[in-house]
Amino acid sequence: MIKQDIKKILSSEDEKISTREAYGRKLAELGEIDKNIVVLDCDLSKSTRTAIFAKKFPERFFNFGLAEANMMSAAAGLATMGKIPFASTFGVFATKRACDQVSISIAYPRLNVKICATHTGISVGEDGATHQAIEDAAIMRSFPNMIVISPADGTETRKVIDEIYKYNGPCYIRLCRGNSPVLFNDNYEFKIGRGVKIMDGDKATLISAGFTTSITLEAAKTLEEEGIEVDMINMASIKPVDSEMIIESAKKTGLVITVEDHNVIGGLGSAVCEVLSEKYPVRVIRLGVQDKFGSSGSPAELIKAYGFDKDSIVKTVRENIPA
């Protein structure tokens, strides 16, 4: 069931917002309090929502055109001058097109660049495989010094941006195109390296990140109605991941199911497996993109087709908990 102490941080409103929109609005707010914040984009400012900042602070917004490699290294240069660069583009370009620049210009010298990528996962929808980042978290997670955060909703996005603004070092923030339910209210607090347990149960552990947390929460509620109570954890902080919370829950339930809009290789599912295989081996089932490229389609169609919609999660739990 939903944890008592969690109720005060859950939103009671029935609203939806995309995490990219929440990011864009938050960035424009932060711009007011710190003139060292600069924003970089590659001809996608309307889509990444950095256009809100650009309109307010044109002198601190730099469009690099379609040149992601240049943007990432230039962001590093700005960071050496004491600026706090937020560099945005789609997830596919931020991590694959500019992979070496992020690694060598930003992560290796541990420069204070915030890479906030939008349009991650197959939930991008109609644009299809070329624009759906399914390996971005895997790539970023493998870079030393890089932290990787995948906020669940608009509220968590705002809190994450606040936290990474205070944190001095490179970050990769995984944002989404589509609207998703606002799960948390303003009392919610985000900490790098900390998960949030939303529901308490002992039959299985569900761990999710990004907008899939809202789907996973719905699945957990459905299971509860059937008398199957699960631990349900929102793990926005994919790196560093909250090992303590994962191990504690796994000890209780003995079965862990991860849910993510990302290839099951290298993302949240892998991070959870790494922790458990070393510290407390239990069975882990990874829901998400099963090592295949994305496709065109509506987000809802794709999520169902790729097997991490609510019904798939419920079915997976039902079929795998001990009788």
Binding site: A69, N70, A74, G77, T80, P109
Partner: protein, 279 residues
Amino acid sequence: MDSELKKKLQEKAKIIRQDIIEMLCEAGSGHPGGSLSIADVFSYLYFSGILNINPDNPSDKYRDRVVLSKGHACPVLYATLAEKGFFDKSHLKTLRKYGSILQGHPDMNKTPGVEMTTGSLGQGLSCSVGMALGARLDDLNINIIAILGDGECAEGQVWEAAMSASHYKLGNLVAIVDKNGLQIDGFTKDVMNSEPLADKWRSFGWEVFEIDGHDFDEIDYSIKSALSIKDKPVCIIANTIKGRGVSFMENVCDWHGKAPSEEEKEKALCDICNLKLED
């Protein structure tokens, strides 16, 4: 250029070249050719007084920044920084060794005076663009100097950076291309012809100077001119000789990335000592 200053810069270049050879021999690996080719430019940048670089105040907000985009040529940077007083010369013997402050390619967090971590070619000019934008935002009247190789100019990112520098009218940015005409696999014109190189930079909106990169008068004139141009970035194409100063390394492709043996070191030091200096 006044003859006394020129003499001093020639003397500094000689010391830098000697240190490059000594440290590479000790390391047993590394890149002598492209370090020796740009040694005169480094002598000028750090010892002519043209730039605000002070080892006693290495984090001075108002310092000029030199970014070695062709990071494999770091022996020239390390020799120069040591001679300038950023760290003790004893470190030069630790080049490329485990635990050293002198990594195989420049690391801004390990080596005092290194402004940017480089080594993956093509990135340094972009980093310099970011520095130039940052300096302008803060109204800092400083110069950003990026040193590139001509082989490096095959990297697409160099041209992304070049385009953005002229788009943003970065008059505080100077790129110096060490055009020594050689790269790992052979002559640049055979591996991937970058000519007409000066026209390329011009067409990207840069002011261009083409100079003899071993002639201090030409280095002096072009850099002073570059620093005085404030409405656009400037590229100085320094025509150089790879391996300059060591007879058996000059214009020999194999000396791109090979360290001299003890015997070769002695001959190299002798050559550098006898290098004919122009008046």
